[in-house]
Structures are given as C-alpha cells and as structure tokens.
C-alpha cells in the first residue's frame, strides 16, 4: 500500500513509574484499515491517546504524513484530519442529536470562518440541518434527530459518535473499541457501517477480541504490556508464537 499516513517512532508514555506505552514504533499506510489488539490494560487506548494528542508522549515522536505532530494540540490534529471515537461513548447528553451533529459539522463549514455567522447566525438553518440529517441517515439514526441524546440507547449513542467523527472530514479515523458494550445486533450494524466506509479513508480500530476484526482489517498489530508484540498481515500475526504466548488460553486464539 501507499505511504504511511500516521506513524510513531519510539513513543513512550509513563504515569508515575507505570510504563503504559513502551517504545512503540508503528505506522499505518494511507487507505488501509488497520486493527490494534491486545488484552485489557495492554496500553491500546493510551497509545490512541498519544496519536490524537489527548496525552503528550514522555518520549518519541508522532508523525502525520511525514509532519511531526508530537506537540500539536488535539484540536489542531482534528483539523489535519485525525478523528477519533472513545472507548466509553462520549457525546453531549445535554444536547439533541441534531445539535451534536451541528457542532461537529459547523467547524468544517464556511460558517466557522465567518466569525459574524459563527457568533450570531441562528444555527437551525436549512443547509446545515439537511447536511447533518444526511450524516445521521448513513448511520440509520436520522429519525432521532430531535431526541435529547441522554434519552438514546448506548448503541445509538455509539452510532451518533461515529456519525460525528465521520462529519469531521477525516483522513484517518481512529475507533477505540467500537464494539465494546454493544448488543449483537448493534455489533453487526456497526460492523456493516465500517465495511461501508472502509477504503474511503484510513481506519484504525482498537479491539481486544481478535475474532471481530478478522474480516475487517488488512493489517493487525498486537500490543501487550505497553509494548508492540507483532505487526503485519492478520493471518500471519495470529499464528505468531509471541502473540499466542500473550493470548495463551484465550478462546479466540483456539478458534484460529
């Protein structure tokens, strides 16, 4: 595949003596769908947080399309095209579904550049509402537009969060355990959505069960105890001895 879109070289994150991410050098090729797996507490989310600017690494660099973004604040990385979702769904419960979408969408549109419109224009205007409605449509939650987000089910909130991330014009989308805490129906639905958007831009998915990723990703990376164990073709990775060692006894591994 093409050039790496996002890469790290030797990133490390320490929290008071605990090494959460230990010297990881990793890259994702432009356009591919990559998976990151590892047991709970392996450091996957912390690694994501380093990629998106939630944390600054204690050591090492993060590159986006060859540009060093290690110290770039998260909001600027978003504008470069790095969008993410959170392991515990994070949307704004006090607002309606439509308002959640608008907030994300406005930042990308022309109304943001004109400060007069950003501060004074009534947000409920046709163009923006239609645009946001379409975005909700792709996730199948358009009917919920005027619902207060707090009143939605967990699965629907996850769909909303993905819709929000998609409306940020991402070049690379980082999904942190998109299947966690969902019912089987919702898992199937989210999986469908990912298949639909796959290939349009780069996607990285964190998951701790390998089985859910096998038919989605082109490359797989295993993290254990903060360190990168193995990275490459999914079929090869799951046969790797080191990977088996850290997943030993897990049912998922026996399946393959």
């Amino acid at each position: 595949m093409g050039e790496p879109i996002l890469a790290t070289s030797g990133v490390t994150k320490r929290f008071d003596g605990l090494v959460a991410v230990d010297d990881i050098t990793y890259e994702v090729a432009e356009g591919e769908t990559a998976g990151i797996i590892g047991p709970n507490g392996a450091g996957k989310s912390t690694f994501f947080n380093l990629l998106t600017g939630y944390f600054k690494p204690s050591q090492g660099q993060v590159y986006f399309r060859g540009r060093d973004v290690t110290v770039l604040p998260s909001y600027q990385r978003v504008m470069l095209g790095i969008a993410r979702t959170f392991q515990l769904v994070s949307v704004f419960d006090s607002m309606t579904v439509m308002e959640n979408m608008m907030l994300a969408r406005v930042r990308q549109g022309p109304d943001y550049d004109s400060k007069l419109r950003f501060f004074f224009k009534n947000v409920h205007y046709k163009g923006l509402e239609r645009e946001c409605g379409e975005a909700l449509e792709t996730l199948g939650i358009a009917g919920k537009a005027d619902t207060l987000t707090a009143d939605m089910g967990y699965g629907e909130k996850r769909e909303l969060e993905i819709a929000i991330a998609l409306s940020l014009n991402p070049k690379i989308l980082l999904l942190d355990e998109p299947f966690a805490g969902l019912s089987l129906v919702d898992i199937a639905h989210i999986s469908e959505v990912i298949k639909k958007i796959k290939g349009k831009f780069t996607i990285v998915i964190i998951e701790h069960k390998i089985s859910k990723l096998m038919d989605l990703v082109e490359s797989l990376c295993v993290i254990n105890e903060g360190a990168l164990v193995c990275n490459g073709n999914p079929q090869e990775v799951i046969c790797d001895a080191k990977v088996k060692a850290c997943y030993w006894g897990k049912e998922d591994m026996v399946c393959y």
């Binding site: 993410r84 994070s90 607002m95 308002e99 608008m102 990308q108 950003f118 501060f119 009534n122």
Partner: protein, 306 residues
C-alpha cells in the same frame, strides 16, 4: 406554554418590556431602574455560569470596573454620558481581556476563588492606592451633560434608557446563545475535553466568553454610575458577589429569561421584604436552601414547563 416564549426573540423582548413597564408604573420608576440594571448584571454573569459552566465569585470586579470607568471618565475627562458609558464597557471588557488570559486557564473552585481574589485586589486598589482618582471611600459625585430630552437627571428618561439597554443586551445574548457559538458553549459546559476532539480551541472560546461577560457586566456597572450619579467602593465590594450568584440560581441558570426573572425576584425580595422583616437575609438563606434542594432549575426553569 412559557417555553414557546424562548423560541421567538421578539416575544421574549416584548414580554420583558411589558413586564417592566407595568412593574415600573405600578411601583416606582427609580426602584425598577435599579432592578433593570441588576438584571443586566445577572445576564452577563450567567453567560459564564449558566451557559459555560464556570462559577465566578468575583464579578463585582467587572461591575466596579465599568462603574469607575464610566464615573472617572465623566469626572476627570468629559461628562458626556454616552462616551462615559462606552468607556465603562471598554474598561470592563479590557480588564476581562487582561485577567482572562490567566483566569480562563483555571476551572471550578480555582476559577471561583481566583476571581474572588482579583476582586479583593481591585476593591483595595480603588479604595486606597488610587484614591486620588477614584475618590477613595467617599467615591465620586457625578454630573452628566444633557442634550435636549436626553437628560440623565430625569428619572423617567433613565428608566426608559435602562430598559432599552436591557432589551439590547437580551437581544445580543439570545442571538449568541442560538448561534453555533451557543451550542459550543453548551458543549464546553458538559465536557470540554471532548469538544477539543471536534477541532475547537476551547481555551480561545472560553476567553472570548469571559470578555463578553466582562463587557456586559461592565455595561451594567456603567449604567449604575449613570443612574446613581455617583460611584463608590460599594460597587466593587467583594461581599456583594453572593447577590448575583443567588439571583442566577433563583431565576434558573443557563437561560436569558431565567436571568431576568432571577434578577427581578432577588431585587424584589431585597427591596420589599426588608421593610417587613429586619433581618431579611435570613429569608434569603432559607430560600437558597429550598432552591438547592427542590428547585435546582430555578423559577424560570419550572415556569417554562407549564
């Protein structure tokens, strides 16, 4: 029924105007002028507290800054009422712009206390080191030029002028709150970290909000100077911060109409109850308990659901 009012700014403005006209002519115009100015103060304060979620314990500083900015300009430079008002607003906004650079980096308890600390510093500066210009403990007695019917020593004119000012501020804030920026404020209140991952520089918007709030509160301070024709240290007294917090809570934080209802309710209690009950503050304390336990959304928060 009442929630409809909020959907139409014109209706909101009309409701406020009519209420204050009835209120003013059925009681006393000067008293209601005080009410109106206090409501502007509450609106400015509530932009930070109710809309952005940061409680300031020191917004009397900006009221005082506006009052002294207006008063000192009229006293030392030129007694034009409109220029003095403008200077008051600019001093309020300017002070917020300088202090906000640091204040906005803090939040919650640190934010509340840092504002209080700055308020204390301001009150001290005005009282003592700057007394040559501020008049110290005695304050300044002011005189403003009049142009025909624009006469600030006429109480009826002052009433209408302040009412118009309130309507202007309400219109401004209603527009702000309905805009994309308004949604942004709401989201910052709920989860600031998450907003950054939508590409917003939240620090900048919190800073801008702090300045807007400083400007509105400064405006209410300048109006106070204009209305009373004097300014003294009581307009910057840190101990009076409770008043505006209480008013915002009582009316219902996070709503422009709530701020107006709260401001009016507070002023009614403190002006009228005092003539029946000597220690009326005790009643305020009991009322605050009731609001904290049973009426978290304030008077307007409940009325809008009727």
């Amino acid at each position: 029924m009442f929630s409809k009012v909020e959907k139409y700014p014109a209706l909101t403005l009309a409701l406020i105007a009519v209420s204050f006209l009835i209120f003013g002519y059925s009681t006393s115009l000067p008293k209601i002028t005080d009410f109106i100015i206090f409501c502007i103060f509450v609106i400015g304060f509530d932009l930070l507290y109710g809309h952005m979620g940061q409680l300031s314990f020191g917004h009397m500083l900006y009221l005082g800054a506006g009052a002294y900015g207006c008063g000192m300009f009229a006293y030392h430079v030129y007694p034009d009422p409109f220029l003095s008002l403008l200077v008051g607003v600019l001093v309020g906004a300017g002070l917020a712009a300088i202090l906000g650079l640091v204040v906005v980096k803090t939040s919650h308890a640190a934010f509340a206390l840092l504002n209080l600390a700055l308020n204390e510093v301001g009150a001290y500066l005005v009282l003592s080191p700057l007394h040559t210009w501020t008049g110290g403990e005695d304050g300044l007695s002011l005189f403003f030029k009049s142009y025909g019917f624009i006469n600030f020593s006429d109480r009826t004119f002052r009433f209408y002028f302040c009412l118009a000012a309130l309507l202007l501020v309400v219109l401004l804030v209603v527009r702000l709150v309905r805009s994309p920026y308004g949604i942004l404020l709401k989201s910052i209140k709920e989860n600031e970290t998450r907003v950054k991952f939508l590409g917003y520089n939240t620090y900048m918007y919190k800073y801008v909000t702090f300045i807007i709030s400083g400007a509105i509160v400064g405006f209410s301070g300048a109006l106070t100077s204009l209305n009373l024709a004097y300014c003294n240290t009581s307009l910057m007294a840190p101990s009076r911060n409770v008043e505006v917090i209480f008013a915002a809570l009582m009316g219902g934080a996070g709503s422009v109409l709530g701020a107006v209802v709260g401001g009016t309710a507070f002023m009614t209690i403190s002006n009228y109850l005092a003539s029946y009950i000597v220690r009326w503050e005790m009643f305020l304390g009991v009322a605050l308990l009731a609001f904290a336990f049973w009426f978290r959304k304030g008077i307007w928060g409940y009325a809008r659901k009727l």
